[in-house]
């Protein structure tokens, strides 16, 4: 019976749902997460504006870890394989997801990409999201950590303007710090802005070009890989194989 307007029409039925609108994506993300755990993969969702230096950070990371542990990447962009090409040139398997006009990756796109042979056996899997400080923050991909690249050229107030993205960040990489001498941006102000949107402040200043600060990032990654522990068997029988 209609309780909304009080008209008492018996054909009108209110139904309580109380369900996350993205529950389908959440389930897919949980599936991806279980998968990463079962195969001992550390999955990192790397987000940031277009041009914030995500690919450059990954190129440097790929080179630094060459021969130490297996790194692979999924690179999301609206068009082209350019980022995946750059990452392959840096020595790691990379698969491009071209989204057409979609502004973010979702858990299903990542899941489909996981079926590509080139990504098997990775210990450290980077998902380089579509360059965008808004939409990618809304979709869980099954990652262990969200890392956000924020270049010094973007200005110190970006965290306050895009609080949703930075609230979701487990770590912020302030990139392109080699450009600081040419800019008016103040790092202390930037960190102050981050502390207003990010409850557990974690910020590394890096320059992929000069290498400055990159050791700290590599050490953080190594620490997270070490903390992974042995692969956990998948909870439920699995209708498909990823290996």
């Amino acid at each position: 019976m209609c309780e909304t307007c009080g008209c008492g029409d018996p054909r009108m039925v209110p139904v309580d749902v109380q369900d996350r609108i993205l529950s389908v994506n959440d389930r897919q993300a949980a599936h991806n997460r279980e998968h990463f755990a079962a195969h001992g993969v550390l999955a990192i969702n790397l987000m940031g504006s277009p041009g914030s230096g995500k690919t450059a950070v990954l190129e440097a990371t790929a080179r630094a870890f060459a021969g130490r542990f297996r790194v692979a990447a999924i690179a999301g962009d609206l068009e082209t394989e350019r980022d995946a090409d750059r990452l392959r040139a840096a020595g790691i398997p990379a698969h491009a997801i071209t989204t057409g006009s979609a502004c973010h990756l979702d858990a299903e796109m990542v899941h489909r990409a996981l079926h590509h042979d080139s990504l098997h056996d990775a210990t450290l899997l980077f998902v380089e999201n579509v360059g965008n400080l808004v939409c990618p923050a809304v979709y869980d991909l099954g990652q262990a950590f969200n890392v956000v690249a924020l270049s010094v050229t973007e200005g110190e107030d970006k965290p306050l303007k895009y609080p949703v993205m930075f609230r979701k960040a487990d770590l912020v990489l302030v990139t392109k710090t080699d450009l600081l001498p040419y800019l008016d941006v103040r790092i202390a102000e930037l960190e102050h802005a981050l502390a207003r949107v990010m409850p557990r402040l974690a910020v590394f200043q890096v320059s992929a070009r000069s290498g400055s600060g990159m050791e700290r990032w590599f050490a953080w990654l190594e620490g997270q890989v070490a903390a992974l522990g042995p692969p956990a068997p998948a909870q439920a029988p699995h209708p498909h194989s990823h290996r």
Binding site: C2, T4, R11, M12, V13, P14, V15, D16, V17, Q18, D19, R20, I21, L22, S23, V24, N25, A102, C103, H104, D106, V134, C135, A137, V138, Y139, P163, V164, M165, R167, A195, R196, V197, M198, P199, R200, L201
Partner: protein, 113 residues
């Protein structure tokens, strides 16, 4: 602009619910959107007006409740004010978001035969 893909997910959920109850029409869709959810209610409304055409929601209205962000200390539960550092002034522990990140389908009003 991800509100359109969010709306497609919402419509799928609504149609599923309506079908399971043999509804002939959906009259109202109530959703809750948190201030820090990354979803813009006005864009969600325009996506709804496009997506509902020729569906069971054709005549439905969407009601969006916007939920303000509310932070408190994760240790001593002291409330934080908007714009504060997200670290408790009293005990130094990181803040915890109590509400304000929800993207929720709350309620439907269905017409059943």
């Amino acid at each position: 602009m991800h509100e359109y893909s969010l709306m497609l997910a919402l419509m799928e959920r609504v149609e599923e619910e309506a079908a399971s109850r043999h509804a002939v029409a959906v009259h109202r869709v109530r959703v809750r959107i948190g201030e820090l959810s990354g979803v813009e209610p006005s864009l969600l409304e325009s996506a709804f007006s496009i997506v509902r055409e020729r569906t069971i929601c054709e005549k439905a209205v969407i009601e969006i409740t916007r939920v303000p962000a509310q932070w408190e200390c994760s240790r001593c539960q002291t409330s934080l004010k908007a714009g504060d550092l997200l670290q408790c002034a009293a005990c130094g522990a990181p803040a915890r978001l109590v509400r304000g990140d929800e993207i929720l389908l709350e309620q439907l009003e269905l017409e059943v035969p």
